[in-house]
């Protein structure tokens, strides 16, 4: 352990333990999942960084969306995100969730993922190599340190906007609102 960080540990133990034990739920859409087995197994051992895959979103605090998001997979993505306990961070993986990537004019791929759930960071590339994943995760540490990775708070603040975007895509969603949506009536 870095001794210079001892003060930080004593001041904010919760934040520091959050930062160094990122339990990841991988959402395996598209091609990005190919890069995950090398990054979590022996060669690029992800547990050096405290990154560990878990079985269920209810135990996770980092959500990796690996690859393009089709209209049908966005629904489980929203449900998975809403099931994760706060504090939670989302990282979108590859160029497709940023703006559609090579599927930018497909009838079935939503182009901008951050219109429907908040994204704390993007790892660009098609596909990003495991080194890029670790560069992204270490950058996420600094964001958590500075308090900038607050997508879950943003989701709560602007839930009416997110919900109306989701409903514009699907019509009636199959589940009740996660938070109060008092802003919806005023619009």
């Amino acid at each position: 352990m870095d001794r210079r960080q001892l003060i930080k540990w004593l001041k904010e133990p919760l934040k520091m333990s959050n930062k160094y034990s990122l339990h990841v739920v991988y959402f395996c859409t598209g091609c990005g999942i190919i890069e995950i087995p090398p990054s979590i197994t022996a060669r690029w051992d992800a547990e050096r960084f405290g990154v560990k895959p878990v079985a269920t979103p209810r135990q996770a605090n980092l959500f990796l969306i690996t690859g393009y998001v089709s209209l049908k997979t966005l629904k489980p993505i929203i449900r998975t995100y809403e099931q994760m306990p706060a504090p939670k961070y989302t990282v979108a993986f590859g160029s497709c969730p940023i703006d559609g990537g090579m599927y930018w004019d497909s009838y079935n791929t939503i182009n901008h993922l951050d219109k429907y759930i908040p994204i704390d960071g993007y790892i660009a590339g098609c596909m990003p190599r495991p080194e890029a994943v670790f560069a992204g995760i270490t950058h996420l540490w600094t964001l958590i340190d500075e308090g900038k990775a607050d997508g879950y708070k943003k989701y709560r603040r602007n839930y009416s906007q997110y919900r109306s975007n989701q409903e514009r895509l699907y019509g009636e969603l199959g589940w009740p609102p996660r938070f109060e949506t008092e802003g919806l009536e005023n619009e």
């Binding site: 209209l71 497909s106 009838y107 182009n111 901008h112 951050d114 219109k115 943003k154």
Partner: protein
């Protein structure tokens, strides 16, 4: 023993059989005779329906449906006609209806559902023509050549506003 090409031409009127290359035979049939052709080929041993696909020939105003059949060798059978049969038929673009081939080949069911969804072809007699892949209804089936994907994306996805904090 006559080859499969001779057998088909002997049994059906107005059917075109052409050998594309070694191991691939193209059979062009009318849409009314499709079911009896498939039945006949199944009885001849071509019991494996590999694919049902569709080509949108927009200049000629037709959909061309493609059925790919092949056979397995059973019980020490000698390979004489080890070819894939490519059965093609045409339906008009204005009124794309066709009788279903589920009763002959059960594996045709998901393929026909997909073609119904992506090209809007109506298979009469199909047990369930419900949506397969798409999450919602699109007015024009998206795999047709006159479907404008860029316009659709602009209307449906790009028009959604980004979330402002």
């Amino acid at each position: 023993m006559s080859s499969i090409e001779e057998k088909i031409t002997a049994n059906f009127d107005g059917i075109e059989v052409r050998k594309i290359e070694e191991g691939r035979i193209e059979v062009k049939t009318k849409k009314e005779a499709l079911l009896s052709t498939l039945n006949f080929l199944k009885d001849e041993g071509y019991g494996h329906l590999g694919l049902v696909s569709c080509v949108d020939r927009i200049e000629e105003g037709i959909f061309e449906l493609v059925y790919i059949l092949s056979r397995y060798l059973v019980g020490g059978e000698v390979a004489v006609d080890q070819a894939s049969l490519i059965v093609k038929t045409e339906v008009p673009r204005g009124n794309p209806t066709l009788v279903t081939s589920v009763k002959v080949f059960e594996t045709a069911e998901p393929y026909e559902r997909e073609l119904h969804e992506m090209f809007g072809i109506v298979f009469s007699g199909h047990p369930r023509l419900t949506p397969l892949f798409l999450e919602r209804d699109i007015d024009l089936p998206p795999m047709r050549k006159d479907f404008d994907t860029r316009k659709y994306v602009e209307e449906e996805f790009e028009s959604i506003p980004p979330v402002e904090d």
